[in-house]
Symmetry: C2
Subunit: 165 residues, 2 copies
């Protein structure tokens, strides 16, 4: 792979993945709401830069930047749509519903599968540790124990292969 996915490509990719994996959500989710959340979840990156998941410093003021971005961007819409889109985005960010948790889990799972498919490229580039991956991706386990059972042995194999520090 010669370049990273951009946000539009990623949003399409993860929305289709959610359609395919919805049956593994536990508790069950409303896939249509999850798809909408995933189509919208990265729009705030138009204003607020993308932050590498394992960059702990850059993540500190991420929430503030994204709140401002959501207010400006969704604020371009008529009030009813502004409120609907903002609520879906916030539900994704807060992960306080089964739908929000599963959408977030899909967004964690996709780059993990991509790393597993390209010999841990971005893990190796950034010196990511196995324990970091376990901790940051706990939301997958919370939203779908069966998907976590599927990826955990692959992560252990990645560690054993030296793709994770």
């Amino acid at each position: 792979m010669s370049r990273l996915e951009n946000s539009a490509e990623h949003s399409w990719h993860v929305a289709v993945m959610a359609m395919l994996l919805a049956e593994h959500a536990e508790p069950a989710i409303q896939v249509d709401r999850v798809v909408k959340m995933l189509l919208l979840h990265d729009i705030v990156e138009i204003d607020a830069d993308d932050t590498f998941l394992y960059d702990e410093t850059a993540s500190l003021d991420k929430a503030d930047k994204e709140e401002a971005a959501a207010a400006r961007i969704f604020g371009l819409l008529p009030p009813t749509q502004r409120d609907e889109f903002t609520a879906l985005w916030r539900e994704y960010e807060n992960r306080d519903t089964a739908d929000g948790r599963f959408a977030y889990a899909c967004d964690r799972l996709l780059p993990m599968l991509q790393n597993l498919a390209n010999q841990g490229q971005s893990w190796r580039e950034h010196g990511v540790r196995f324990e970091q991956v376990l901790r940051k991706n706990l939301p997958i386990q919370e939203a779908s124990p069966s998907l976590w059972q599927y990826v955990l042995p692959k992560l252990e194999a990645a560690r054993d292969a030296g793709w994770l520090a």
Copy 2:
């Protein structure tokens, strides 16, 4: 704009557009089904090349190529998902339901808006005629008279500006 949207970017873009314009469908549609159709509608282009809308010759065997592509690509999925995805794709292609017609209309409307936003770039590059645009985009009128009322004066202005032959 320095390059065309690729299929993933386009599919994300048109799905979000459908979420925003769903209220203008007439008769009313189920936006969730329309969004799914639009996320899937271009997957067949993995095998079957994209065809420029106004290229009448290339469009001739497009349907056969896309049928073969759908059979192969959706055939990679477990049977239940294969059948669901194939049915959604076919409903989009056949436009024999309100949902399929509105999804198709969105896919027509987006490049039209993009052409109107960049001084008719791809129309001018290919010498597209005003009458061709009216005929090819009749599906917009059929799925949403109000959206057609919105774009028709803009198309007439584009013709008057010489962006359409």
